[in-house]
């Protein structure tokens, strides 16, 4: 006979609270958990009767106490219930099981029996479980347990939400789950060497914060923190997050030192959050080049290189690196550089299976501009081989039917050499104006380049359109004492100077509008005459003609190559969009581009 509980036993007992005779009672075996005496009595014992799914508060008959004293029945043992009643307990929602007659089936099992909610028959023994249906009594007990903490620990256990933490309040405790754990890294800087590692913490409300530990603290807590587990943390310090290293959306970041307290919260199941992907198609990577945003991609592996050792310039460390080529159903390929463990472990796995063209999904890749477009792994990148995702299945199907045969171009090859005649390259990194204006962090470190198509919507007629420029070097000249103009760069005086355009124009497309800074060459094409000529019209032909000239330039479509950078102007960060190249709208090419985009829209 199986040493196990009767499934649904508790429900059976509750369904028939007062059976008449023992003949009515079906075979009921329950597990005795939380066995303890009532008060200081030696004859009265209380326990939780468990059938693997439900638990009910229960009492043993007094005559059975001898079985416990003799060791015949211990905690986690099994008993068969021969006679019982279920009584309602005053002030409690649940009933209590009063066992009047029972016999021992098994003195003690290894662990508490818990069954999965899904299973109908059979109970699976699991040391740690996910959600288990709890009786109301148990839930009440747990909640009470959280609210009456003082007995347990010395520190205040009142849990603060992550969103309430700030650097000026020191006495807090948080209860968080580790949703990402970085590697223990060594670094060398001006002050010497050290180790560092960080974890990403999430609390119940979903707020996230990054916690960093250095040297001794790193060594102390690195083994403690485990991905997916819940901890109580206190005595950490907070400071404003350094945007350059920030990975998590929080204004603050936490540092833990050796005095910080980290305690595992037991009773919380370890929950490793499923990696959420937000895939970008390979041919869409152009817009992310040199941006701050990390991308996720999924594709079929076509090629795996051998491991190379790259020497790091800063400390002469050698790091392993491997390049893999990935293709997806946008019919483009891209090279992904994997570093450190990703190169050695995952890389080796991919190399072994490359002939089977495995599907690989990678999270958090940096987009660079090597050979046009390149992807590079960072410490928090995650690689999944042949993942069980719908996108993976779609890719597999595409590859087996078409992808295998198609020869695909590298996505980077479209971006090489920004030609002076902007026409061809006006289609690489084509974005809408809203893409630029919606992301104010674009171009923080290095300027980012895009192509846009827009209509000039407004030229301010009362702005300074031009500056006086030196005829030789085009730099600004100042009016010299006497007559003529002095050029600082050429160190000479000139009687004549030329006017060069420097202006801002408002450009619109169907998604939005933006102010663009335009320099001489492009402004000439927009307005249709040189700055000198425009100035002449303004002074000689009158304001009306001048306004007309500006008006003629409005609502003309143009293709621009722009650079976006972040500048500080009077302590405020401003987005500055500058025109680098200009091309007239080529209707035929534009129509084809639109047709392609429409086709892509209908596919997705």
């Amino acid at each position: 006979m199986t040493n196990s509980v009767t499934p649904g036993a508790i429900s059976m007992l509750l369904a028939n609270p007062s059976p008449d005779s023992s003949s009515e009672i079906p075979e009921i075996v329950v597990q005795v958990v939380d066995l303890k005496p009532i008060g200081s009595s030696t004859t009265r014992f209380t326990f939780m009767a468990s059938d693997g799914k439900m638990k009910i508060k229960a009492m043993l008959p007094t005559h059975f106490a001898s079985e416990i004293h003799s060791g015949n029945l211990q905690n986690l043992g099994l008993i068969r219930i021969l006679d019982y009643t279920c009584n309602s307990i005053p002030n409690q929602p649940d009933k209590a099981l009063i066992v009047t007659k029972c016999e021992v089936v098994c003195p003690a099992l290894e662990t508490e029996i818990k069954s999965e909610v899904k299973e109908e028959t059979g109970i699976v023994l699991k040391p740690k479980q996910e959600m288990v249906a709890k009786s109301a009594a148990q839930i009440v007990r747990e909640q009470r347990g959280n609210a009456a903490p003082a007995a347990r620990m010395a520190m205040t256990r009142r849990v603060h939400p992550l969103v309430s933490l700030n650097p000026y309040q020191g006495n807090w405790t948080i209860k968080v789950r580790v949703t990402n754990k970085g590697n223990l890294r060594t670094y060398k800087n001006a002050k010497g060497e050290g180790h560092v590692f960080n974890v990403e913490l999430t609390d119940e409300d979903g707020t996230q914060i990054q916690a960093t530990m250095f040297n001794e603290a790193a060594n102390k807590f690195y083994p403690t923190f485990e991905l997916g587990k819940v901890y109580y943390i206190s005595k950490g310090s907070l400071k404003v997050a350094n945007k350059q290293f920030r990975t998590v959306a929080n204004d603050y970041e936490m540092t833990l030192n050796e005095n910080s307290i980290v305690e595992e919260a037991d009773g919380e199941g370890a929950f490793i959050p499923e990696t959420k992907f937000n895939f970008v198609k390979i041919d869409q990577l152009g817009t992310y080049v040199n941006g701050r945003e990390l991308v996720d991609i999924i594709g079929v592996v076509q090629n795996v290189s051998s491991t190379l050792s790259i020497r790091r310039k800063s400390n002469n460390d050698t790091i392993p690196k491997r390049d893999i080529t990935i293709a997806d159903d946008s019919n483009k390929t891209v090279v992904v550089s994997l570093w450190n463990e990703l190169a050695t472990d995952i890389g080796q796995q991919l190399l072994d299976t490359v002939d089977s063209a495995p599907v690989v999904a990678i999270k958090s890749l940096k987009v660079g501009d090597f050979q046009g477009v390149s992807l590079s792994s960072v410490s928090k990148s995650k690689v999944l081989i042949n993942p069980d995702l719908p996108e993976a299945k779609k890719l597999r199907a595409w590859f087996d039917s078409e992808g295998k045969g198609t020869s695909m171009a590298s996505v980077g090859s479209g971006f090489s050499a920004l030609s002076k005649n902007g026409a061809k390259s006006m289609y690489s990194d084509r974005v809408l104006l809203s893409h630029i204006t919606n992301d104010q962090t674009l171009g923080q470190d290095k300027p980012v380049f895009f192509s846009i198509k827009g209509y000039i919507s407004f030229i301010k007629s009362d702005q300074t359109m031009s500056y006086r420029a030196c005829k030789t070097c085009n730099k600004k000249v100042t009016e010299a004492i006497g007559s003529g103009y002095w050029c600082e760069a050429c160190q000479k005086n000139d009687d004549e100077c030329s006017l060069r355009y420097i202006m801002v124009v408002k450009v619109s497309d169907h998604s939005g509008e933006a102010w663009l800074s335009v320099f001489n060459e492009q402004a000439e094409k927009i307005i249709g005459c040189t700055a000198d000529e425009l100035n002449r019209i303004k002074s000689e032909e009158g304001d009306d003609k001048y306004q007309l000239k500006l008006k003629e330039a409005t609502w003309v479509p143009h293709l621009f190559r722009v650079s976006v950078a972040q500048t500080e102007y009077m302590n405020e960060k401003r987005q500055r969009i500058t025109v680098r190249a200009h091309a007239p709208l080529d209707c035929s090419a534009e129509s084809r581009y639109l047709l392609e985009e429409i086709a892509k829209m209908s596919l997705s």
Binding site: C587, S591, R592, L595
Partner: protein
């Protein structure tokens, strides 16, 4: 503006669907025979245009008229578009205007 009988964007393939209805198509002139113009439509097939004046060879001509049987149009208005014309883009337009996005056009 008379919108009672809008002309459907068509190529040789689509003309079959609109016999008796007003269509507009762009053809590249292959030859002129009396009052009949023979041209190549944007999807590569041959179209005959009746009642149209002559146009220079290899020019693109837009013809608006009634679709009349197989591969021919009874022209009402013909316009010379010159030599520079992107037939592929126009054909794409025909596909879209008669496919998913018909409601935008008819």
């Amino acid at each position: 503006m008379d919108t009672s009988s809008p002309a459907v964007f068509a190529n040789a393939e689509l003309i079959k669907m609109y016999t008796g209805r007003r269509v507009r198509a762009v053809v590249q002139v292959i030859r002129n025979e009396g009052g009949v113009l023979v041209g190549k439509s944007t999807d590569g097939q041959q179209l005959t245009v009746k009642g149209s004046p002559a146009f220079p060879l290899s020019h693109f001509v837009e013809v608006i008229g009634i679709a009349d049987g197989n591969q021919s149009i009874r022209a009402e208005i013909s316009t010379d578009l010159g030599e520079n014309f992107d037939a592929v883009a126009y054909d794409g337009l025909c596909q879209l205007a008669n496919g998913k996005h018909r409601k935008l056009f008819l």
